[in-house]
């Protein structure tokens, strides 16, 4: 549901500390003309959907955005987005706006059901901010929504935010494996609005990617050029400008998961704004999906396993041993039949993500459990098989309110894992007893031995096995 909220809600998605976007005037001053005028790029409305065998404009490795509502499975190819950028569409119980900005590689889907239940149509304004599509609301013809922050930046609905819906972005071939019963946009439909005004794009139009320069290469992959340089922040050199990332905005936190950094088949356990999530990544199909990893009040930790089904990633939760597929469905074990809730998120070229979110966190390797573990207690978890002595970096870090610490033991024995403040005083004993060999996870909720909240700051945590003469130390940051 499209819901209208005011400035206070704007702070949810566009925190002031991320770049001052709570000042709409700031963003409107960054508008540039992207080329075509208003509606010069023709948004489609309610196109037809047909079975896959009835279309010829898609290759198996072309990307699509996939939606499933009440068993109605639809694929929206990037090929359509290259030319039309917005598809206004309707399902039985809701309307959606499926949007793709070719210049930032961002595909986002919004609920477009008005308060009266009527479909809200969006059009392409012809304007850009940070190279990114700016949509306009066709009800008044003037309210602008930059796609990547989906918040009105002008007019009477200033600060209103669209509801971002979960979408799976993957290759056409992979989407068909995920949902063999999918339908897909039929070329040349959804043009009624422009009847007689302009040529209708055909299957031939949608076959080829248009943003290619003979001199500078394929826009999607060439780091040699940007047609529109971002203006809200400088180019962030942490990654190449066209590197793809999965971007998440939760609460006031943002985090990017670079495709190039994530191992193929990775399942990443993480915490963003105190919400436990898991990111699943399959490199060949360019698929990154984020799920909330809390189910029924219980936080699940996942590790990847060799897939047995036809999808490239499967994982098992530590807590119950249930097996999950990359669609977030439990397919075996005690939780079989359960479904993880997908986190609304989107893929983006790095330059655009970093321009909108210059203070973004970036995933740097934490949170991958590469060996199976079993839950022992709420505080500490016990391994299945032996490992060497090692103390992992906590994740998330910095953290609030909880962080997890991995450690490995080479043998059964007495273990201490203790948190100290910068003055060397004991803050919390996380482990103090005999543990079996193997991988363990300890959690610290930021409380001291007295149950009081520890202050913001840097803390030292030390793992030791006195009987083996082993010791390792790391630090972490608690942010209140």
């Amino acid at each position: 549901m499209l819901y209208i909220s005011l400035i206070a809600l704007l702070a949810w998605a566009v925190p002031a500390e991320a770049g001052g976007y709570d000042n709409p005037g700031f963003l409107t001053s960054h508008l540039v003309s992207g080329g075509p005028p208003k509606d010069g790029i023709p948004a489609l409305t309610n196109p037809n959907f047909v079975d896959p065998e009835r279309i010829a404009y898609l290759r198996e490795d072309d990307l699509v955005m996939g939606l499933v509502f009440d068993g109605d499975v639809r694929a929206y190819p990037h090929n359509i987005g290259w030319w039309n950028e917005i598809i206004n569409d309707q399902f039985t119980d809701r309307s959606v706006a499926v949007t793709l900005c070719p210049l930032t590689g961002t595909g986002l889907v919004f609920d477009a059901t008005g308060a009266d239940g009527m479909q809200i149509e969006f059009g392409v304004s012809g304007l850009l901010i940070n190279s990114n599509l700016v949509m306009y609301d066709r009800r008044d013809g003037s309210t602008l929504y930059p796609q990547m922050i989906y918040t009105a930046i002008n007019g009477g609905d200033l600060g209103a935010q669209l509801e971002l819906l979960p979408v799976i972005e993957t290759t056409w071939g992979m989407w068909k494996k995920m949902y063999p019963n999918t339908t897909v946009v039929e070329a040349g439909t959804g043009w009624e609005r422009y009847a007689g005004e302009r040529p209708v794009y055909t299957e031939r139009s949608y076959e080829n990617y248009p943003y290619i320069s003979a001199r500078l290469g394929d826009y999607r992959t060439s780091n040699d050029y940007l047609i529109f340089l971002p203006s809200t922040a400088d180019i962030d050199p942490r990654f190449e400008i066209k590197d793809m990332v999965l971007g998440l905005c939760l609460g006031k936190d943002t985090k990017a998961y670079p495709f190039n950094a994530m191992p193929d088949g990775a399942v990443i356990n993480d915490v963003i704004d105190a919400q436990n999530i898991a990111v699943v990544y399959a490199a060949e199909s360019h698929t990154a999906i984020a799920y909330f990893s809390e189910l029924g009040g219980r936080v699940l930790n996942f590790y990847a396993v060799e897939p047995e089904g036809n999808l490239p990633v499967e994982f098992v939760d530590v807590e119950t041993g249930s097996r999950w597929n990359m669609l977030g469905s439990a397919i075996e074990g005690p939780l079989a039949g359960q479904q993880l809730k997908q986190v609304p998120s989107y893929n983006s070229m790095w330059f655009a993500w970093a321009a909108y979110w210059p203070d973004t966190n970036v995933w740097s390797g934490e949170g991958i459990l590469d060996v199976p573990v079993l839950v022992d207690t709420a505080v500490e978890e016990t391994p299945l098989r032996p490992q060497t002595f090692a103390l992992g970096q906590n994740f998330p870090n910095p953290f609030n309110p909880e962080t997890r610490i991995h450690y490995q033991l080479p043998a059964d024995g007495f273990v201490r894992l203790v948190v100290y403040n910068s003055g060397g005083q004991v803050v919390r004993r996380l482990v103090d007893g005999v543990r079996r060999s193997g991988l363990h996870i300890a959690r610290w909720n930021g409380l001291d031995e007295a149950g009081q909240a520890a202050a913001s700051g840097t803390y030292i945590y030390r793992l030791e096995m006195p009987g083996e003469g082993l010791r390792e130390i790391r630090s972490m940051s608690l942010v209140r």
Binding site: T28, L31, G40, L127, L226, F228
Partner: protein, 298 residues
């Protein structure tokens, strides 16, 4: 992309507007009862422009105004013709009308077919009132352009210079350097532009100015050199939001040679070379024109 079309048409339009000044030789007015006509033709093919915004090319930041290639192999092939008619109502008062015709084509990789548009543009009426005759000739200029053209907003290919009301006010000053067969002239004006309904945009007002010098090279041969400048403000759209990437600026140098076919008829050819700008095509426009006047005694 389509906005390069608009950029180009700005140039054509600016040229069109400036040609009103050419029609009756700068600040000078026609003798009463004289009809002066001009049919001119302009053509330009270019793959470069003065950028409207910041770009990043091969690791370098290009600022607005940098001369660079159109993205994605963009290329223009543009033709424009202007039919002008000026009548000397009094020795000190001219009125004129101008009708443009555009034929434009733009191709780039982002289009599955070329953009093209052809048709009659907006009609422009002008008036020139000579205020001072000598030694300096000083005239007041005025013009109104009405959105009468047949262009439609087809896939972005609409000349933004076309489609809205414009009102020009300006001054023109000239001086003959007789007995040398030379003259100098300068124009300065301001163009008030109303919103363009077809593209839902107020294109923004602009200043224009020019300075020229000309003279006779031989009995039938004349020459003129000219510097022109157009300096626009930001466009406004979507409820009045200023769009600085629609700021238009251009500087041209022109050289034109006139061949007097007889006392009333002249053929002219020339080139108009861009010197710098912003949000405008770069390169050379080629000009050919035929002028003729008729006096009442005829």
């Amino acid at each position: 992309m389509a906005y390069f079309v608009r950029i180009y048409v700005y140039a054509c339009f600016a040229l069109c507007a400036l040609c009103v000044g050419d029609a009756s030789a700068g600040a000078w007015t026609l003798p009463q009862g004289t009809v002066w006509t001009k049919l001119s033709y302009f053509t330009q093919k270019t793959d470069e422009w003065y950028s409207a915004h910041r770009q990043w090319v091969a690791g370098e930041v290009l600022s607005p105004g940098a001369r660079t290639r159109y993205a994605f192999e963009g290329r223009y092939d543009s033709h424009a013709a202007f039919l002008e008619l000026v009548y000397g109502v009094r020795d000190c008062l001219d009125v004129g009308v101008q009708v443009p015709y555009f034929a434009q084509r733009y191709v780039d990789q982002t289009r599955d077919r070329p953009l093209s548009s052809t048709g009659v543009g907006d009609v422009r009426g002008s008036v020139k009132l000579r205020l001072v005759q000598r030694p300096l000739v000083l005239s007041a200029l005025g013009a109104v352009k009405a959105p009468t053209g047949e262009y439609r907003n087809v896939d972005g290919l609409i000349p933004v210079g076309e489609g809205q009301w414009d009102v020009d006010l300006g001054l023109s000053a000239g001086r003959s350097l007789w007995p040398r067969a030379l003259y100098i002239n300068a124009d300065l004006g301001y163009r008030f532009r109303r919103a363009n309904v077809a593209v839902d945009r107020d294109p923004g007002d602009e200043w224009f100015c020019s300075a020229e010098a000309g003279g006779r090279l031989a009995s039938r041969l004349r020459m003129m050199g000219k510097f022109e400048m157009l300096r626009g403000g930001p466009a406004r759209e979507f409820g009045g939001l200023a769009n600085r990437s629609q700021i238009k600026r251009i500087r041209y140098a022109s050289a034109v040679v006139y061949f007097d076919m007889d006392e009333r008829t002249a053929l002219e050819v020339g080139a108009r070379i861009s010197l710098g700008g912003r949000n405008y095509p770069a390169g050379t426009q080629w000009i050919a024109a035929l002028t003729r006047d008729w006096r009442r005694t005829e």
